[in-house]
C-alpha cells in the first residue's frame, strides 16, 4: 500500500511553483549521545554486517564515536552461535552463515560495560526483479531547476512477482551512476499487487538520459519493514509531513538502529542518450 505514498509525493513537487527554500541557522537542543546498532543479515550473500556507534548533535560535522570492543553473536534456533567479528571503526562482519528461508536468528550484543542487547528476525523468502521499465516523463525540467531541462527525464518502474498466500514486505534501493540514493526510502507491502500478483513501484527520484541505474530489491522481515516505513514517514517532510518521531525497533533495550534479515536481488538499466 505504501507505494501510493511515493506516487503522491510526486504531486507535491508541483507546489514548489511559488515557494522558496533557504537554509537557516537554528539553535537546537542536544541530547546525550545514544547507542546505535545498525545490523542486518543478508540471506542472499550469507553475510552479517553490524555498525555500532553513538548519535551526535545535529550540527556536528565530525564522525560520530564508534564502538569496536563489543561482543556480537548470531544465535540460531538450535542454540549454536556465530561470532560477528570486529573489523575496526565500529564495523563488524561475518560470512558463510548458511541461513535458510523461515529460519529465525537472534543477534546478541554485549558491551564492555556489561550492557547487553538482543533482537530477533526471521529470514524472508528470496525475490527477483522481473524487469525495469522506463517512461519518459514531464516532471523535472520545469520546477526547482534541479535537472537539466534540455535532457529527457525518465520515471523508472521496477516489476516483480509477489508470492501468493503470504504477507511479504519489500524495499527498493537504487544507485545512480554508482552512488547510493539515500534521500528516499521506498518501502512497500504486497497489498498493492495486481491481478497477476505483480507489483510495480516507481522510485521517488528522477533519472535522465545517460544515467546508469542499479536497483536492489530487498525482501524484508516484518520488523525491518516497520522500521523502514517509519523512516519513510519521517522523511516525507514539508508537504504531507507527519509529526516527526523516533522509529520503534526490535532491540531489547532503549537504543537506536535495528536488526533485520533481508534477501536481495539486483538489476541494472542504462538510459540511452
Amino acid at each position: 500500500m505504501k507505494h501510493i505514498l511515493y506516487i503522491l509525493g510526486w504531486s507535491f513537487l508541483i507546489l514548489s511553483l511559488s515557494s522558496c527554500e533557504d537554509v537557516i541557522e537554528l539553535e537546537l537542543k542536544n541530547d546525550d549521545p545514544q547507542l546505535v546498532i545498525d545490523a542486518h543479515l543478508n540471506a542472499s550473500s550469507q553475510e552479517a554486517q553490524v555498525w555500532m556507534s553513538y548519535s551526535n548533535s545535529f550540527y556536528d560535522n565530525t564522525d560520530s564515536e564508534t564502538i569496536d570492543d563489543a561482543m556480537v553473536q548470531l544465535i540460531r534456533e538450535d542454540g549454536t552461535s556465530i561470532i560477528v567479528e570486529a573489523k575496526g571503526n565500529g564495523y563488524y562482519k561475518t560470512e558463510n552463515i548458511n541461513a535458510a528461508v523461515d529460519e529465525t536468528f537472534k543477534m546478541q550484543v554485549t558491551l564492555t560495560n556489561g550492557n547487553s542487547y538482543e533482537a530477533i528476525a526471521k529470514v524472508p523468502r528470496p525475490i527477483s526483479i522481473d524487469s525495469v521499465s522506463m517512461i519518459a516523463t514531464a516532471f523535472g525540467g520545469g520546477f526547482g531547476g534541479q535537472s537539466d531541462s534540455s535532457k529527457q527525464n525518465y520515471q523508472l518502474l521496477t516489476y516483480w512477482k509477489d508470492p501468493v498466500g503470504t504477507e511479504d514486505y519489500y524495499r527498493l534501493k537504487a544507485k545512480k551512476n554508482g552512488a547510493d540514493l539515500t534521500d528516499t526510502y521506498v518501502v512497500l507491502d504486497d497489498a498493492g499487487a495486481n491481478d497477476e500478483n505483480q507489483i510495480f513501484s516507481p522510485f521517488f527520484e528522477l533519472f535522465e538520459e545517460g544515467d546508469s541505474v542499479e536497483f536492489s530489491l530487498l525482501s524484508l522481515d516484518k520488523n525491518t519493514y516497520d522500521y523502514f516505513s517509519n523512516l519513510a514517514d519521517i522523511q516525507g517532510q514539508g508537504f504531507g509531513a507527519t509529526t516527526p518521531f523516533n522509529p520503534e525497533n526490535n532491540w531489547s533495550g532503549d537504543i537506536l538502529g535495528y536488526f533485520g534479515v533481508i534477501q536481495v536481488d539486483q538489476k541494472s538499466i542504462y538510459l540511452p542518450q
Binding site: I4, L5, I7, L8, W10, L17, S18, S19, C20, E21, D22, V23, I24, L26, L28, K29, D31, P33, Q34, V36, D38, W51, S53, S55, S57, F58, Y59, D60, S64, S133, T137, A138, G140, G142, S149, N153, L157, T182, D183, A191, G192, N194, F200, S229, N230, L231, D233, I234, Q237, G238, F239, G240, A241, T242, T243, P244, F245, L256, G257, Y258
Partner: protein
C-alpha cells in the same frame, strides 16, 4: 438534568405569558433591503416607549407581542438608515419593512440608538463579519475570502500560511462546524487550502460562534460558522463580477417575479495553470491546476405564509498533468420551506444532501492507479421559532442525518484492489432553547439543551485489535443493524448582565459533542485527510467550555471594546499513533491513539466602527495542550496550533468617496513543532534523533498586507472598481516547514520552506444594475 431544564423553561415561558395575557397583539413581518429585497438577518427592532426589542431571525423574520396601545417602532440595521414607524396596536399586524442603504456618514448616524447590540445581546464569543468590510481588506492574490478575514479576529487563527483552514480557541481544524445555508461543508478549501470554497459575491451573512453556541447547533466541538447565501435581488436584474490575475467570477441575480421570487447564480473559475504555463518548460504543456465552483439559489413565496428555497453548490478541484491527478470537491443540494403557522410561530424545514468526495489518480506505466474516499449526508431538520411575548424567544426543533462514509477505495485499471467497507451512521439531535429577558434591560439569558445520538449501522465487519495492532476478533453486523449507539446531553447557557447601555458582563457554559473525526497526518490540509465516524472503539469527542466576558462601548457606540476569557476541557480526542497514516490505510483503527486536551486564553478586541477611519485590533494570549497515553510517553504536549501570542491589526481609511486604502498586520507565535536533538547513521543514511513532541517553536510568523480600492465609476446603471493588493508587503520569509537533512556535500542543514514572498495583485470588479 434535562427534565429540570425543560420544566424550568416551560415554567418561565408560560409564567411570563400568562402574566401579560390580556389584550396582547402581535406585530410581525420581514425586514428587507429596499434596493435588492434581500432579507436582513439579525436586524434590530426597538419599541421606543418601553425599550423592549427583538431581532430578526436567520430568515429575516421578526415577531413582537405587546399589550394594546400606541407604539413607535425603530427598525435598524448596520450600514442602513434607521426607520421609525408609528403603530396603533389593537389587532395583530403584519408589517414588512424595507430599509434604505445609508450612503453618507450623516445618514448612518441616525442608527446610533440600536447600535449597542454587542452589549445587550446574550451572545458572547460570537463574531459577525460585515461583508462590506471584508471586501476592503487586502488578500492573497486578490481573491476575497471570508475564511481568511475571520482569521483576523481574536481567538481565530490560520491553519498555516495562505490557508483557509482555521483554528478556534485552541481547537483542531475539524472541530469547526461549517454550514452553508444549513448544509455541512466537510472540506472548505480549494487548491490544497489556499482558497476557501465560499465565493464572497454570493454570500449575505457570516456568523462565527467561538463559544456559547445555541442548542440549535450540534456535531462539532470548537465552533460554528454559519454562512448564509444571498437570496437574489427581488426588484431587478443585476450582473456583477470580477476579473483577477488568477481567477474570475460572475454573479447574476434577479426576480423570477417581482417581490415574489428571485434567483441567483454565481460562478468562479481559477486559471493558475494558464498563468503559470509561460513560465514552465514544454514538458508541462498538459498541466492542469484550477478549480471552479457554482452557487445557485432560487426562492419563491406562496401566499403570505409560505416560501420555498432551493439551492445548490457544486465545486471541483482539478490538479494534475497528463499522467497524474487529484480530483476532489463538494456538492450540496438544499431544499428549504419556511412556513408561518401564526404571527408568533415560524417554521423552517430543510432537507440537505451533501456529497464530499476526493480522488487521486495516476498513470503508472500505463496502469491507472486510483484512490478515492468520500462522505455522503442526507439531512432533514426542522427549526421552530416561537415568539410568545417580547421577553421570550423560543427555538426548538430536531434533525436527523444519515451519513455514509467511504474510506480508501484503491483500484488499478478500474479493478478494485482494496476496498474498505463503508461506514453508515445515523446522527440525530433534538433541541430546545429560550432567549429570555429576565430583568428588563438588565439581565437576560439564553439557555437550552440539545439531546444527540449517533448510531453505527451495519452491514459492517468490525475488527478488534490488540496492543500489537494484530486483529484478535472480528464482529460481524447485519445490514440495517444498529450495533453501537452513543447518547449525549449538551446543555448550553449564556447570560448577560447589562450595567448600562454602554457596558455589560457576560458568562457562558456549553457542552458540545462531535461524532465525526478528521484524521490528518499532515499540516497542509491535503484532500487525503480522512473523516472517520465514532465507532465502538472511537468515542465521540466532548468539549466543555466556560467563558466570561466584559463588553464596553464608547464614543457614542463608535468604538467597541471587549475582553473575553475561556477555559476548555477536551475529552476523547483522536490522533494517529507515531507513524500512523490515513492514506491508503485499510486498518485505520489499529493506528489510532486516544487522549484529552485543555485550552485556555484571554482575547482582547478593540474596534472602531464608524468614521473615515475604521478597523480593529485584536490580541489573544492562549494555551492549547494535549495528552495521549500512546504519544510522547504519555506526557502533556503543546498542540501544534498553540500560539501563545496572536495579534491582528486591521485598518481601513476612506480618503475620498472614490478611494479607500487598507492594511492588515498579523503576528503570532510560531507553531509548536518537533526538532531534532541529534543525528545518527542507519544503512548508510543520516537519520535525525527527535526530541519531545512539539517542544520547540517555529520562528514567529508576521506579515503586512496592503490594499487600495479605487472606484472607477459609480453610476446608476454601472459600477466598477479596481482593487490592488500586496500580500506580505515586506517579503517576510515565514516558514511553512523546516526540514533537517544533509546537503549534497554531507553537511547538516536546516532548510526553511517559505510559500509566499511578496505577492502583488490587481482585480477589476464590476456591476451592471
Amino acid at each position: 438534568m434535562k427534565r429540570i431544564l425543560f420544566l424550568l423553561s416551560a415554567y418561565l415561558i408560560i409564567g411570563s405569558t400568562t402574566a401579560t395575557a390580556q389584550d396582547n397583539y402581535t406585530i410581525s413581518g420581514y425586514m428587507r433591503d429596499s434596493s435588492s429585497g434581500e432579507e436582513l438577518l439579525f436586524a434590530g427592532i426597538l419599541v421606543k416607549e418601553t425599550g423592549a426589542g427583538t431581532t430578526t431571525n436567520v430568515e429575516g423574520f421578526y415577531s413582537l407581542t405587546l399589550p394594546e396601545g400606541n407604539y413607535t417602532l425603530e427598525y435598524s440595521y448596520v450600514g442602513m438608515q434607521t426607520r421609525e414607524v408609528v403603530i396603533e396596536l389593537k389587532q395583530n399586524i403584519t408589517q414588512d419593512i424595507e430599509l434604505n442603504t445609508g450612503t453618507t456618514l450623516v445618514e448612518i448616524k441616525v442608527q446610533e440608538t440600536k447600535d449597542n447590540e454587542n452589549i445587550t445581546s446574550t451572545e458572547m464569543g460570537v463574531v459577525t463579519l460585515d461583508m462590506k468590510d471584508a471586501k476592503l481588506i487586502p488578500v492573497l492574490l486578490g481573491e476575497q475570502d471570508i475564511l481568511k478575514t475571520i482569521q483576523l479576529l481574536p481567538g481565530v487563527s490560520a491553519n498555516s500560511e495562505g490557508s483557509s483552514g482555521f483554528f478556534v480557541r485552541g481547537g483542531d481544524a475539524d472541530q469547526n462546524l461549517i454550514l452553508l445555508d444549513d448544509a455541512p461543508v466537510y472540506n472548505a478549501s480549494h487548491l490544497l487550502g489556499f482558497f476557501s470554497v465560499f465565493n464572497s459575491d454570493a454570500l449575505k451573512d457570516v456568523k462565527l460562534y467561538k463559544g456559547g453556541m445555541p442548542s440549535k447547533y450540534g456535531g462539532r466541538v470548537s465552533s460554528v460558522l454559519d454562512i448564509r447565501m444571498k437570496n437574489g435581488n427581488m426588484k431587478k436584474w443585476e450582473v456583477s463580477g470580477g476579473v483577477g490575475l488568477i481567477s474570475s467570477r460572475i454573479t447574476a441575480e434577479g426576480p423570477l417575479k417581482k417581490d415574489k421570487g428571485s434567483i441567483i447564480i454565481s460562478g468562479r473559475r481559477t486559471y493558475l495553470d494558464l498563468v503559470a504555463k509561460p513560465f514552465l518548460s514544454d514538458n508541462f504543456s498538459d498541466l492542469q491546476l484550477y478549480f471552479y465552483d457554482i452557487n445557485a439559489k432560487a426562492n419563491y413565496k406562496f401566499g403570505t405564509k409560505d416560501r420555498i428555497y432551493i439551492s445548490g453548490y457544486f465545486g471541483r478541484d482539478v490538479f494534475g498533468t497528463g499522467n497524474l491527478g487529484f480530483d476532489w470537491g463538494n456538492a450540496t443540494a438544499t431544499a428549504r420551506w419556511n412556513h408561518l403557522f401564526s404571527d408568533q410561530l415560524f417554521l423552517n424545514t430543510t432537507f440537505v444532501f451533501s456529497d464530499y468526495r476526493y480522488g487521486f489518480g495516476v498513470d503508472v506505466g500505463g496502469n491507472a492507479v486510483e484512490l478515492s474516499s468520500g462522505i455522503q449526508d442526507y439531512n432533514l431538520k426542522q427549526h421552530y421559532y416561537w415568539y410568545p411575548n417580547p421577553k421570550n424567544t423560543v427555538k426548538f426543533g430536531w434533525e436527523a442525518t444519515y451519513h455514509i462514509l467511504q474510506e480508501n477505495n484503491f483500484a488499478i485499471d478500474d479493478v478494485d484492489q482494496v476496498t474498505t467497507p463503508s461506514h453508515k451512521a445515523l446522527e440525530t439531535g433534538v433541541y430546545i432553547g429560550n432567549e429570555q429577558k429576565i430583568v428588563d434591560k438588565k439581565f437576560s439569558a439564553e439557555y437550552g439543551v440539545r439531546l444527540s445520538s449517533f448510531s453505527n449501522i451495519g452491514a459492517f465487519e468490525e475488527k478488534v485489535y490488540d496492543e500489537e495492532n494484530q486483529v484478535i476478533q472480528t464482529n460481524t453486523y447485519n445490514s440495517g443493524e444498529f450495533y453501537k449507539t452513543y447518547f449525549a446531553v449538551e446543555p448550553r447557557v449564556n447570560m448577560t448582565y447589562v450595567f448600562s447601555p454602554q457596558n455589560s458582563l457576560k458568562a457562558s457554559y456549553t457542552r458540545n459533542y462531535q461524532f465525526l473525526h478528521l484524521l490528518s497526518n499532515s499540516t497542509s490540509g491535503t484532500p487525503t485527510d480522512l473523516w472517520i465516524p465514532s465507532t465502538p472503539l472511537v468515542k465521540p469527542q466532548i468539549v466543555d467550555q466556560v467563558a466570561l466576558g466584559y463588553f464596553q462601548n464608547f464614543g457614542n457606540n463608535a468604538y467597541e471594546f471587549s475582553v473575553e476569557t475561556y477555559y476548555k476541557q477536551l475529552y476523547n480526542q483522536v490522533d494517529f499513533e507515531d507513524g500512523g497514516s490515513a492514506l491508503a490505510n485499510t486498518e485505520i483503527e489499529s493506528d489510532l491513539a486516544f487522549g484529552k486536551g485543555r485550552a485556555y486564553g484571554v482575547e482582547f478586541f478593540l474596534k472602531k466602527k464608524r468614521g473615515k477611519f475604521t478597523g480593529w485590533l485584536s490580541y489573544t494570549l492562549a494555551k492549547s495542550e494535549r495528552q495521549f497515553d500512546a504519544i510522547n510517553n504519555g506526557n502533556w504536549f503543546s498542540a501544534r496550533q498553540d500560539r501563545t501570542h496572536d495579534i491582528s491589526l486591521v485598518a481601513m481609511y476612506q480618503i475620498s468617496k472614490r478611494l479607500n486604502i487598507s492594511a492588515s498586520f498579523i503576528y503570532y507565535t510560531g507553531d509548536a513543532v518537533t526538532y531534532p536533538v541529534g543525528k545518527y547513521t542507519v544503512d548508510g543514511a543520516s537519520v535525525n534523533l527527535y526530541g519531545e513532541r512539539n517542544a520547540e517553536r517555529m520562528p514567529d510568523y508576521h506579515r503586512l498586507d496592503l490594499g487600495l480600492t479605487y472606484i472607477v465609476k459609480d453610476g446608476d446603471r454601472f459600477y466598477s472598481d479596481l482593487s490592488f493588493s500586496i500580500y506580505n508587503a515586506y517579503n517576510r520569509k515565514n516558514a511553512y516547514s523546516i526540514t533537517f537533512d544533509l546537503d549534497d556535500a554531507g553537511n547538516p542543514q536546516a532548510t526553511r520552506l517559505a510559500l509566499f514572498g511578496i505577492v502583488p495583485s490587481i482585480t477589476w470588479n464590476f456591476k451592471f444594475r
